[in-house]
């Protein structure tokens, strides 16, 4: 890993990285894990692999909606960015099949966080 200095800081940190267009974020703090986020994470990783999807699965901290843990946020091309709450293995599979592959939002599972589409909080 290159050490950062005052001189190379901007250059090193703004390295052109291909923008990730499709991602799934799973809230994996103590609160999320206690509610079953680890199972959800495994399920999603497995489903992404099995279906050969071009999706980055990212582990994040807690976004604060404790009452709706485990939380899964999804952004895929041509779809709004949404947060699913109270996700279990079944819902996780539905997210993959219906939302990511079928491009249709799931009923009764979305917990809105963003007021502005595409931007949090």
């Amino acid at each position: 890993m290159t050490k950062l200095t005052l001189k190379n800081f901007d250059q090193e940190t703004s390295k052109e990285e291909k923008e990730i267009k499709n991602w799934v974020k799973v809230g994996m703090s103590t609160c999320g894990i206690a509610a079953g986020a680890d199972v959800v994470m495994e399920t999603i990783k497995k489903a992404v692999k099995e279906n050969g999807l071009d999706i980055k699965v990212i582990k994040t901290g807690c976004v604060g909606k404790c009452y709706a843990e485990p939380l899964v946020e999804v952004k895929v091309e041509n779809m709004p960015q949404v947060m699913y709450g109270k996700v279990d293995a079944d819902i996780a599979n539905l997210i993959i099949q219906q939302h990511i592959i079928g491009k249709k939002l799931l009923n009764d599972c979305i917990y809105l966080v963003a007021v502005k589409d595409g931007k949090n909080g």
Partner: protein
């Protein structure tokens, strides 16, 4: 942002019962126009509005309509979907009550990746500080920002730093206080787990400003995930040249270590925390001298709370002025609260200072669970107090809460409803402090125990009116004579419940009754014959078969068997069970 098909999100924000019906009507309306393939209607679980009737949000236009009636649906589809216009009379501007500075990255970045943090302006504050290479300017910027300690005390951060900076010695320390111990509070844990680099960056800047070469994160051992993520973050920062010798290629060097707290509440007090790091028993010592002058191993030490430190990088990066514009005139910035208890949306929230408790409970928290009646809110943990409903319009800042007898504290906020007994609550918090008292000073050690005995008498029906006077007298003594914050504030929950809920104490003392059904010896469950409809639900629900009788002859609770669990009371639709 790519384009996508229109989406209508709907939710009945009152009872939830009408969501399905409205959903069908929207589908019908779209079908009539042949739009069913172009527009998706979706029922959502939470639309960020509460008690505003049926709410719909249309994406990607981001239009929100509230209080929608069935007769409005056709209009909405005609105007908002077909014509791309807005239905003005239903339109609202959804303003988010929250504002995220400390929690800016929590839930957004991968906490185990320094590259992710760097992508979100990470360590840019530090870079700016080291480029300018002016310690006075850092402190000046903090002074402008008006940032105060978020651990609860509310002492101006710049002043603390300035005291330590002005000490002429080579060895100084910076400590991050992550010994979060209030019941129901988890702000620090979330920050450490969700964005550890923000705290580390804050500590490096603090170290530069005061001239420290070594820092410690004091984290309680009950937070294993937080500890492992912080360890990982420190390691990554080393690899990137952000910690260790010659940070960012400058001649400034600083390193961090982690010290684990064994879960003693008193170790959140700064002098006790220092003793604990030094390997001594976690007991507080009298101040002054303050740690900024005589702290860890006798050296000047700045101790800041996790949340305070997480604020630092943003302030230095964007300027103190911008931070000072957030919140109120006297109290700048935001505060993170862990909103829990009998509230629909238990959540970790960050709000600008100055909004009211009402806004927090109803607009963010979504109101009280199970539509019960709200009684009070407890802030500040065992050092804080309860605030009754009539003061929910109070603005949240250090002064506002203090005037009510409570404190801001580190950010626990527990909502209580009619089922919570105030004597029981006072007893719970006092018991916590009695258990956690280190025992060094007499007022706290003996006073706490005596008060707990008095409260137990009240909750078990053995008290007289003298008990209240005695409670008040001991409280005063503890406030005045205790060595540290724990003892000085331990009586706050008792004093505030006495102040705002004297009636409830009287009921316990004079009538020997606990209407909330918490103090076991002071109530019994009984079936009111006139109201009972003989449905038998209570009998089915009773886990110990304590309800005798049948649907023809009515029911009776067998007091000898009853364990007072309250399930019959909750299940009865006719309010035919009294307590």
């Amino acid at each position: 942002m790519g384009k996508y098909k229109k989406i209508i999100m709907i939710k009945d924000t009152n009872t939830g019962n009408r969501t399905s019906r409205i959903y069908d009507l929207f589908l019908n309306s779209l079908r009539e126009r042949g739009l069913e393939d172009d527009v998706q209607v979706v029922r959502v679980a939470d639309i960020n509005f509460y008690n505003k009737g049926v709410v719909a949000r249309i994406l990607p236009d981001n239009i929100t309509y509230v209080k929608i009636e069935e007769s409005d649906i056709d209009r909405i589809v005609r105007i908002s979907i077909v014509k791309d216009d807005t239905v003005k009379d239903l339109l609202v501007d959804p303003k988010d009550k929250q504002m995220r500075i400390v929690l800016r990255n929590c839930g957004i970045i991968d906490p185990e990746s320094i590259d992710d943090y760097l992508k979100f302006d990470g360590y840019k504050g530090l870079k700016k500080v080291l480029e300018e290479n002016n310690r006075d300017k850092v402190i000046e910027e903090l002074k402008i920002s008006g940032l105060c300690g978020r651990g609860g005390g509310g002492f101006p951060t710049w002043m603390k730093w300035n005291f330590a900076k002005s000490q002429q010695t080579d060895t100084k320390f910076i400590i991050c206080n992550g010994d979060e111990g209030d019941p129901g509070a988890y702000m620090d844990r979330s920050v450490l787990e969700g964005d550890p680099h923000s705290v580390i960056e804050g500590m490096i800047i603090a170290a530069f400003a005061i001239g420290a070469k070594k820092g410690y994160l004091y984290i309680r051992a009950e937070y294993p995930l937080a500890i492992s993520r912080v360890e990982m973050a420190i390691e990554q920062a080393h690899q990137k040249g952000l910690l260790g010798k010659n940070i960012l290629g400058t001649d400034f060097s600083f390193d961090l270590g982690i010290r684990l707290g064994a879960g003693a509440f008193v170790c959140g007090e700064e002098t006790a925390l220092i003793a604990s790091i030094e390997g001594k028993r976690g007991c507080p010592s009298p101040r002054p001298p303050y740690p900024t002058i005589n702290g860890l191993w006798g050296k000047p030490t700045v101790i800041n709370n996790v949340e305070t430190l997480a604020n630092i990088a943003q302030i230095l990066l964007n300027g103190g002025k911008r931070f000072s514009n957030i919140g109120t005139e006297k109290c700048a910035g935001t505060k993170v609260f862990a909103l829990t208890g009998k509230v629909k949306n238990s959540s970790l929230i960050e709000i600008p200072m100055g909004i009211t408790l009402k806004e927090i409970i109803y607009d963010i928290g979504g109101g009280v669970l199970n539509n019960k009646k709200i009684k009070a809110v407890q802030t500040g943990g065992p050092s804080g107090g309860v605030i009754p409903e009539e003061f929910f319009d109070t603005c949240i800042d250090y002064e506002g809460l203090q005037k009510l007898g409570s404190i801001m504290g580190s950010g626990g906020m527990i909502v209580m409803d009619e089922d919570d007994c105030m004597v029981d609550i006072a007893k719970f918090y006092l018991k916590f402090c009695v258990d956690e008292s280190c025992g060094k000073c007499a007022p706290c050690r003996i006073g706490g125990k005596q008060m707990l005995d008095l409260l137990t008498d009240i909750s078990e029906g053995r008290a007289s009116c003298d008990h209240v006077d005695q409670l008040k007298r001991i409280s005063k003594a503890m406030q005045k004579a205790s060595l540290c914050g724990l003892g000085q504030t331990a009586s706050n929950p008792v004093l505030t419940t006495l102040k705002y809920f004297e009636e409830e104490y009287k009921e316990h003392i004079v009538d020997r009754r606990c209407k909330s059904g918490k103090c076991e010896l002071l109530f019994i469950y009984e079936i009111i014959e006139d109201k009972c409809k003989h449905c038998g639900l209570c009998q089915k629900k009773c886990p110990v078969d304590a309800i005798d009788g049948d649907r023809d002859n009515g029911f009776m609770i067998n007091q000898e068997k009853c364990v007072k669990c309250g399930q019959c009371f909750d299940v009865c639709k006719f309010e035919a069970i009294s307590r």
